[in-house]
C-alpha cells in the first residue's frame, strides 16, 4: 500500500505543479491585457476628483495660476498637469495611448500640426465639445480645424501663433543696426529676402561668435506658414514637392545656411537654450508662444535686451497653436469637458496671455484689457497685444494635412544638416524627400 500512496502522491504533486504552472501563465497572459486600473485613485468617498491634463511645451496654465483658481471655484476638483517638454515626443505617446485605450489623461493637448490626423482617424475617441462650446467664439479658421466632416468638434482652441520677430536689441546696437521697433521692421518690410539682407549687414559688424538667426528651419516654417497652401492640397494629397511656399522657404533657408547667417541650432534643444542664455543669436522668428520660450531660456539676466517687432513681409502667418481634447476613455468626461470650456474661455485665455504671451484664439479675449494693451516687460515692454492682434486678423485659412508636423520636422532636420554639417542643398533636399515619403508611408 505504501507504493500506491507514493504514486498517488507523486501524480497529485505533478497535477498541482501543472495547475500552478498553467494558472501562473494564465495570470501572466491576462495580467498583460487588463488595464491594471489602480482602483480609481482619481475620486474618493467625498466625491472629490482629480482631473489630469496632459500637455507639452508650455500651455501657460500653471504660470497663470489657473488650475489653482479652478480648484477654488470647484473645491471638489483638483487638476494635475503632466507636461512633456517637446511635442514630437508627446504625440507618439498619445497615439499609443489612444490605440491601447488606456493611460490617457482626462484632458489631452493636441498641436495644430496633428489635429488633422486626430480628426481623421481618432475622432471617435474624443468627446464632442460642440454642445458645450460655441465655435463662433473662435477666430474663423481655428475651430474648423478640429471639426470632423459630420460636425463633431473634438478640441477647443487654446492659443494661436501669429508671427512676429524677436530681436536682441543689444546685439543690434553693437552691430550698428537700428534698435527701434518701427525702424527694424522697416528694414525688412519687403519680405524675407530683405530679412536675409539685413542678416548680411548684421554679420559684417557683429560681435564675434554671434549669429543673425538661431535656425534657418524656423525661418522656413515662418515662410511656409504665411501661405494658405503648405504641404497638402484640398483633396488631401501631399504636394510638398511642388508647393511654392515650401520651395520659397527651402531656398531662403539654403541661402541663410550658405551665407552662414545662422547658428544652426535645433530649436528648444539644450544648446539652443544655452545660446539664448549667452546671447549669441540676434533674431528669432517669433510666433506668439515663442516669447515665453525665449524669456524662459535666456533668463532674468537678459531681461530688457530683447524686443519684438512685426515679422518680415506683408502676409500674416500663423505658426502653431493647440487644442484641448477630452478622450472618452477618461473617468470624468463631463467634468473634463467643463474644465476645457473654462480654460478656453476669453478671461482665462487672456490670463494665460498676460502670464506667458500665448495669444488667445477666442475672439472674446481680444477686447479684454489684458490683451488689448498687453505689454511684455521682459521684451522692453513691447506692445504685443497690438502687434499680434493686427497679425491675427489677416492670417490665411490654411489647408491642413494629417502629417504636417512630421513633414515639417523631417524638412527641418535636413535644413539643420545644411547649416551644421554643410550638406549641399540638393543632397539635403533629396534626403528630405526620402524622409517625408517615409513619413507619409
Amino acid at each position: 500500500m505504501r507504493i500506491t500512496r507514493t504514486v498517488a502522491g507523486r501524480s497529485r504533486r505533478a497535477a498541482v505543479l501543472v495547475t500552478t504552472g498553467l494558472t501562473a501563465s494564465a495570470l501572466l497572459l491576462t495580467g498583460c491585457s487588463s488595464d491594471s486600473d489602480s482602483s480609481d485613485e482619481s475620486s474618493d468617498a467625498n466625491g472629490k476628483i482629480t482631473l489630469t491634463v496632459a500637455d507639452f511645451g508650455q500651455f501657460g496654465y500653471k504660470e497663470a495660476g489657473l488650475f489653482a483658481k479652478y480648484h477654488e471655484l470647484h473645491p471638489n476638483i483638483t487638476v494635475k498637469e503632466d507636461t512633456t517638454a517637446e511635442e514630437k515626443n508627446y504625440y507618439p505617446k498619445l497615439l499609443q495611448q489612444l490605440s491601447a485605450g488606456s493611460g490617457l489623461a482626462d484632458v489631452q493637448g493636441i498641436e495644430v500640426g496633428r489635429i488633422k490626423e486626430i480628426v481623421d482617424t481618432k475622432a471617435d475617441q474624443f468627446a464632442d465639445l460642440s454642445k458645450s462650446i460655441d465655435v463662433n467664439d473662435w477666430v474663423s479658421w481655428k475651430e474648423k480645424q478640429a471639426t470632423t466632416k459630420d460636425g463633431k468638434v473634438i478640441g477647443a482652441g487654446t492659443d494661436i501663433g501669429p508671427m512676429s520677430l524677436c530681436y536682441n536689441s543689444e546685439l543690434f546696437k553693437k552691430a550698428g543696426l537700428p534698435t527701434d521697433r518701427k525702424a527694424v521692421a522697416a528694414k525688412f518690410a519687403g519680405g524675407w529676402e530683405d530679412y536675409l539682407k539685413l542678416g548680411e549687414e548684421y554679420q559684417k559688424n557683429a560681435p564675434a561668435g554671434t549669429y543673425f538667426m538661431d535656425s534657418a528651419s524656423a525661418m522656413f516654417n515662418a515662410v511656409v506658414s504665411s501661405n494658405a497652401k503648405q504641404y497638402y492640397d484640398e483633396s488631401g494629397k501631399a504636394i510638398y514637392k511642388d508647393s511654392p511656399s515650401v520651395k520659397q522657404g527651402w531656398n531662403l533657408a539654403a541661402e541663410a545656411a550658405d551665407k552662414k547667417l545662422t547658428q544652426g541650432l535645433a530649436q528648444f534643444g539644450d544648446p539652443w537654450k544655452a545660446a539664448l542664455r549667452k546671447s549669441t543669436m540676434a533674431t528669432v522668428v517669433c510666433p506668439a508662444w515663442m516669447a515665453a520660450q525665449i524669456s524662459d531660456a535666456a533668463g532674468e539676466g537678459n531681461k530688457g535686451k530683447w524686443d519684438i517687432t512685426t515679422a518680415p513681409g506683408e502676409t500674416a502667418s500663423n505658426w502653431g497653436g493647440s487644442f484641448l481634447g477630452v478622450p472618452t476613455a477618461g473617468k470624468h468626461v463631463k467634468e473634463a469637458g467643463e474644465l476645457v470650456k473654462w480654460l478656453t474661455a476669453p478671461e482665462q485665455q487672456a490670463a494665460v496671455f498676460k502670464a506667458t504671451g500665448l495669444f488667445p484664439s477666442n475672439k472674446g479675449a481680444y477686447d479684454l484689457a489684458d490683451v488689448k494693451t498687453g505689454k511684455l516687460p521682459y521684451f522692453n515692454d513691447a506692445p504685443i497685444g497690438e502687434i499680434y492682434a493686427d497679425e491675427a486678423k489677416s492670417i490665411p485659412e490654411t489647408v491642413l494635412g494629417p502629417k504636417d508636423a512630421d513633414i515639417k520636422d523631417a524638412i527641418s532636420t535636413q535644413i539643420n544638416n545644411m547649416e551644421q554639417r554643410g550638406t549641399s542643398p540638393d543632397k539635403a533636399w533629396d534626403a528630405a524627400v526620402d524622409k517625408v515619403d517615409k513619413v507619409i508611408g
Binding site: 504514486v7 505533478a14 497572459l29 515626443n89 499609443q96 544655452a274 512630421d406
Partner: protein, 332 residues
C-alpha cells in the same frame, strides 16, 4: 528522473508465485503502467510552464509580427489591417536608410565587440593571478554591467556632448580642439561603442575568468617546468583551453550588437535619437525599427524590419557555426 528510474524498478515487489490472485496481478500491471506513464509524462508537465510562457510571449509575437509585416497597419488605426503581401519587405530593402542601418549595426558591432573581448581576456588573465581581495575586484569589474542602459547612456551623453561635454573639455585642455561627437560619421559610432564596451567588458571578463579557472593547473606547472614565460603560457595554454568559451562570448556579443538599441537612442535622445542622428550616422537596425513603428507609426515596415533582423541573425549564427566547426577541427 533518469536516476530514479532504476531505483523504482528495483522496488517493484517480487512476484509471489502461485499465491498471487489474478486480480492482484492485474492491479500490479496497472500500477507499473501508471509508473511508466508518470515517468514519461510528468517531465513534460514540469517543463510545460516555460513552453506555455514562451508560446505566449515568444512564439506568438514572432508569428504575429510576421503577419503584420504582410499588412499595412498604422499606429493611428491598429484595427484596420490591409493585406499588402511582400510590399513592406520590398519597401525596406529599397530604402537607403535600411542599408545605412545595417552597415552601422555591423560597424558598431565590430568596433565594440572586438576591443571589448580582447580587453576582457586580458583583464580575466590579470584577475586569475593570486590577488589580495580578489572577490572585491571581481565584483567591481561587474558593476558597469549592473547599471541600466539608460543611466549609462545618459552619463556618457554628458561626456560626449559638443557644448560643455567632459571629453571636449579635456581635449580642449590638452589643445586637441573641439569635436561634435554625436554629429560625426565615425565619432558618433565610437562614442556608442565606448558605452557598449564600458558596460559589457566586465561581464565577459567574468565568463573568461570562470573558464580560466577550469583549466587544469598541471598544464601550467608542466609549462613552467618547460621554461615557458607567463606570456607564452597565456598564449599556448590559456587561449586554446578557452576556445569554446571565446566562441560563446562572440555569439552572445553578436546577438547583443545586433539588437543594440538603448545606447544610440539615448545618445542625443528625443526625435534626433529616434532617427539615429540627423543623417542617420549612428542609426542601428533596432533604432530604425523603432523609428518606423513608433515614431512614424507605420507598423507594417517596422515588422518587416524585425523579420529582416531575425534573418540576419540566423545568417550570422550559421557563419558562426561554420567557423566553430572549423576551429574545433583544426584544434584536434
Amino acid at each position: 528522473m533518469a536516476t530514479s528510474t532504476p531505483t523504482r524498478d528495483a522496488y517493484v515487489p517480487p512476484p509471489r508465485g502461485s499465491q498471487q490472485t489474478p486480480v492482484n496481478a492485474r492491479r500490479q500491471m496497472w500500477r507499473s503502467r501508471l509508473w511508466r506513464f508518470d515517468d514519461k509524462a510528468s517531465p513534460y508537465a514540469y517543463i510545460a510552464p516555460f513552453f506555455l510562457v514562451f508560446g505566449a510571449f515568444g512564439l506568438y509575437p514572432l508569428i504575429y509580427t510576421g503577419w503584420i509585416a504582410l499588412h499595412r497597419v498604422e499606429m493611428t488605426g491598429l484595427d484596420q489591417m490591409e493585406w499588402v503581401g511582400w510590399d513592406n519587405f520590398d519597401r525596406i530593402l529599397h530604402d537607403a536608410e535600411f542599408w545605412t542601418a545595417v552597415t552601422n549595426t555591423f560597424v558598431i558591432g565590430v568596433i565594440s565587440t572586438v576591443p571589448q573581448l580582447l580587453v576582457a581576456l586580458g583583464l580575466a588573465h590579470l584577475l586569475n593571478y593570486k590577488l589580495r581581495a580578489s572577490t572585491f575586484w571581481r565584483t567591481v569589474i561587474l558593476t558597469p554591467y549592473a547599471t541600466s542602459v539608460a543611466s549609462a547612456a545618459l552619463v556618457f551623453a554628458l561626456v560626449f556632448r559638443a557644448d560643455g561635454g567632459l571629453l571636449n573639455w579635456v581635449l580642449h585642455f590638452v589643445g586637441l580642439g573641439h569635436t561634435n561627437w554625436a554629429n560625426g560619421e565615425w565619432t558618433s559610432k565610437i562614442a556608442i561603442s565606448v558605452i557598449v564596451i564600458w558596460r559589457w567588458t566586465g561581464y565577459n571578463t567574468l565568463i573568461y575568468l570562470a573558464a580560466m579557472q577550469a583549466v587544469p593547473s598541471d598544464l601550467y606547472e608542466a609549462a613552467s617546468l618547460d621554461g615557458a614565460s607567463r606570456w607564452q603560457q597565456f598564449r599556448k595554454v590559456t587561449i586554446p583551453s578557452l576556445r569554446p568559451t571565446i566562441l560563446f562570448t562572440i555569439v552572445i556579443s553578436t546577438i547583443g550588437a545586433m539588437q543594440l538599441f538603448g545606447e544610440p537612442l539615448l545618445l542625443e535622445g528625443g526625435a534626433i535619437g529616434a532617427t539615429g542622428g540627423t543623417e542617420n550616422q549612428y542609426e542601428t537596425l533596432s533604432v530604425y525599427l523603432y523609428n518606423y513603428g513608433w515614431h512614424l507609426g507605420h507598423l507594417g515596415p517596422a515588422a518587416a524590419v524585425a523579420w529582416a533582423m531575425l534573418a540576419l541573425l540566423l545568417i550570422i549564427a550559421a557563419v558562426n557555426w561554420l567557423i566553430g566547426r572549423f576551429v574545433r577541427k583544426s584544434a584536434v
